[in-house]
């Protein structure tokens, strides 16, 4: 754990002596902070003043019977805290912390929409993830609601709103530049973007609710399908959470194999985005080149896991398939082949004038704004914020493998893409190191189907950034609550702010530099 000298728990204890706040170290991350509505704002104020990297990772809304639990999961530079508040179901209101840390805004809206907690000071205008015609007062994540029975009316015709001089350009839900259905309303004055209004939720399937009615093993395959691109990361984050509740130690070989699979995921995802960015700026050759070199990565994923895309290789207690000794040279050959091609791509992204003209000084996110908005992954690292869960809270074999955290200071689209470009090489090095140091032994241990009561939080570094899971078990074979916060959900606010004031033509490269994934965002 990197130490920058901030002992956040000591600071909190000192400053909160006379407040109704109880600090429980060692649960739900570094510590759980149990408090009441109102006092939580004091806690946030202290955290924000003490540590510049304080940001809301996620908010879990949970139905506790009489009460609603609202758990703020907060990241600081060296800790992960959970601030627990309970509000009565009859009057589920609490004060928003949106004004203290803007990173909370999106999360609060989501909790309002799905479980009905109302945040004073962060009013929601209409539905956030649920469809527009969803009935008021039906909160799908409450235990007594059967949301499957909800029948929706056909949507009303879109209202014509008068935005004065501004022209409204609707991008999505079906648009050539978007591979996924999501709507962004861009208001422009001449060529300049003045406002971006997102409408997410087109891919909202209700996975968090569905996971409560399936067993832990079935859930592995369900959460894997939250996102087809970073599927192993989702599966890994979930099985790690379950293993934490079970207090199950995974064999070292499984840890290394998981690390290799996670890095292959990162490799193919980064190559995909680097190519897609080429497509968005009209550089189709680059797209074809990158996707051609991505195919061998899919091949070695298939060698390792049996599948090209959805790998289905993670399971509670280890991995489902061992790597054969005879396959290691095949994997290494592919990686060294890709490594030989890399200098060409690095040169293109660094020196190619087309890339420079379309990406440099586009969508600049300054370091202080990146910290304020709580962005994660390559978006944060492109703005000079060195956060990476693999280094900050090592999981699997990352603690034993040497690698660098890539950061760029420019904060523009170019920097974000170059972070990914450099991470490709780091990923190859990690896989090669893991293959060379692969421990002998079993690749999985048997895990019980029934999980004892408990709750944990877990983070992994997905290709797009920090992926967060909260899992609560009630002692049966079915989880009580699974909360997923995906990296794109945390990164969208960055796009909404950086697009403003720039020409409309810069929207696609800026947007794709977040590597947006809406099936993750909506779940």
């Amino acid at each position: 754990m990197p130490s920058n000298g901030i002992d956040i728990l000591k600071i909190l204890e000192d400053k909160l002596q006379n407040k109704p706040v109880q600090i429980v170290p060692g649960t739900l991350g570094t510590a759980a902070i149990i408090t009441k509505s109102g006092s939580h704002r004091d806690v946030f104020q202290i955290l924000v003043d003490a540590d510049e990297k304080t940001a809301v990772v996620s908010i879990t809304g949970i139905d506790l019977g009489e009460n609603l639990g609202v758990y703020y999961h907060v990241r600081t530079s060296n800790a992960l805290l959970t601030i627990q508040i309970e509000v009565p179901k009859a009057n589920p209101t609490l004060a928003s912390v949106n004004d203290i840390t803007p990173s909370a805004a999106f999360h609060e809206l989501e909790v309002t929409d799905l479980i009905g907690a109302v945040f004073e000071g962060n009013p929601s205008s209409g539905h956030f993830v649920l469809p527009d015609t969803w009935p008021e007062g039906v909160y799908p994540l409450r235990k007594d609601v059967n949301a499957c029975e909800v029948k929706l009316d056909p949507p009303a015709a879109e209202e014509k709103s008068d935005d004065g001089k501004l022209v409204k350009i609707v991008i999505g839900p079906q648009h050539p530049a978007l591979l996924e259905p999501e709507k962004f309303v861009v208001l422009v004055e001449g060529e300049t973007v003045r406002e971006v209004r997102p409408r997410i939720g087109y891919v909202h399937r209700g996975i968090e609710k569905a996971s409560e009615s399936r067993t832990y093993l079935q859930d592995v395959y369900l959460v894997e399908r939250i996102c087809g691109i970073c599927n192993s990361c989702h599966a890994c984050a979930f099985v790690e959470s379950v293993e934490k509740i079970l207090k199950l130690e995974v064999p070292p070989r499984a840890k290394y194999l998981r690390t290799i699979i996670l890095e292959l995921n990162r490799l193919h995802s980064h190559l995909l985005t680097l190519g897609h960015a080429g497509l968005e700026i009209g550089y189709e050759t680059l797209f074809q080149y990158f996707w051609r070199d991505r195919e061998p990565i899919m091949d070695i994923t298939e060698i390792l896991t049996g599948n090209r895309v959805i790998s289905s290789s993670m399971t509670v207690g280890g991995v489902r398939r061992d790597l054969k000794e005879t396959d290691i040279p095949k994997v290494k050959a592919v990686l060294s082949g890709l490594k030989k091609r890399l200098p060409f791509y690095v040169k293109v992204y660094r020196e190619e004038p087309t890339i420079g003209l379309r990406m440099q000084k586009v969508g600049t996110l300054k370091r202080e704004n990146a910290l304020k908005l709580g962005v994660v992954g390559p978006v944060a690292r492109g703005s000079g914020v060195d956060i990476d869960v693999r280094k900050d809270a090592p999981y699997e074999a990352y603690g034993e493998i040497p690698f660098k955290v890539i950061t760029y200071d420019a904060g523009d689209t170019w920097a974000r893409m170059n972070v990914r470009m450099d991470e490709v090489e780091e990923s190859i090095n990690i896989i090669e190191y893991a293959l060379d140091h692969l421990p002998e032994g079993p690749f999985r241990v048997r895990a019980p189907r029934v999980v004892p009561a408990g709750e944990v939080v877990n983070r992994v570094e997905a290709p797009r950034g920090e992926l967060f899971y909260y899992v609560k078990s009630n002692g049966t074979a079915f989880p009580d609550r699974v909360k997923v916060r995906t990296p794109t959900f945390a990164n969208i606010p960055a796009f909404l702010t950086t697009a403003v004031g720039e020409p409309l033509a810069d929207v696609p490269p800026n947007f794709v530099s977040l590597d947006p994934c809406f099936s993750c965002t909506d779940r």
Binding site: L130, P131, D132, P140, A147, C148, V150, L152, P154, P155, P173, Q174, H175, P176, L179, E180, P181, G201, Y202, V203, H204, R205, G206, I207, K209, A210, S213, R214, T215, L217, Q218, V220, Y221, L222, R225, I226, C227, G228, I229, N231, L272, F287, Q288, W291, R292, E295, E302, G306, N307, R308, V309, I310, S312, C517, S519
Partner: protein, 181 residues
Amino acid sequence: MTNLAMWARLKSPWVIHFNSGACNGCDIEVVALLTPRYDVERFGIKLEPSPRHADVLLVTGSVTKQCADRLKRIYDQMPQPKFVVAIGACACSGGVFQGTYGTLGGVDKVLPVNAYIPGCPPRPEAIIDGVVKLLNALAAPPAPPKASEEEAATEAPAEEVTEVPAETAPDAPEEVKKDAE
């Protein structure tokens, strides 16, 4: 004139891709079709951004409640004759997401489907095979467009592509599916 149109349609079908609530797994395989290794342009297949120019609608993913209306709208905007291909387990039946509150189920809940391509996700080869089988089925009886569409819809199970290699079809999602049923 009809023959000429049919010839053009078979030699160069323009497809539009719509994600109606997929996990991106099928979508990246659809995009991978355009890239050098699979290169479907050798069959004249071209990915078309506008529904108004497209002959075939490739749908991936189970249909979410919010997308259903938009999916219908895209289908309505396509000119006749038009064909729908459901790609992936979710588009065929709802897949792993059966019984979730946000989804309606497979694409056939909303649109008539001409060909089903199962798999999670189907391999690019399977998708090519499915689309080529659809084209072959169209070429066989030179029926008027309207009739051929209905015929293809009723014949759909026969056209189903099942050549997903056993080792690439994960067994576990099947368990999940059974459970959801």
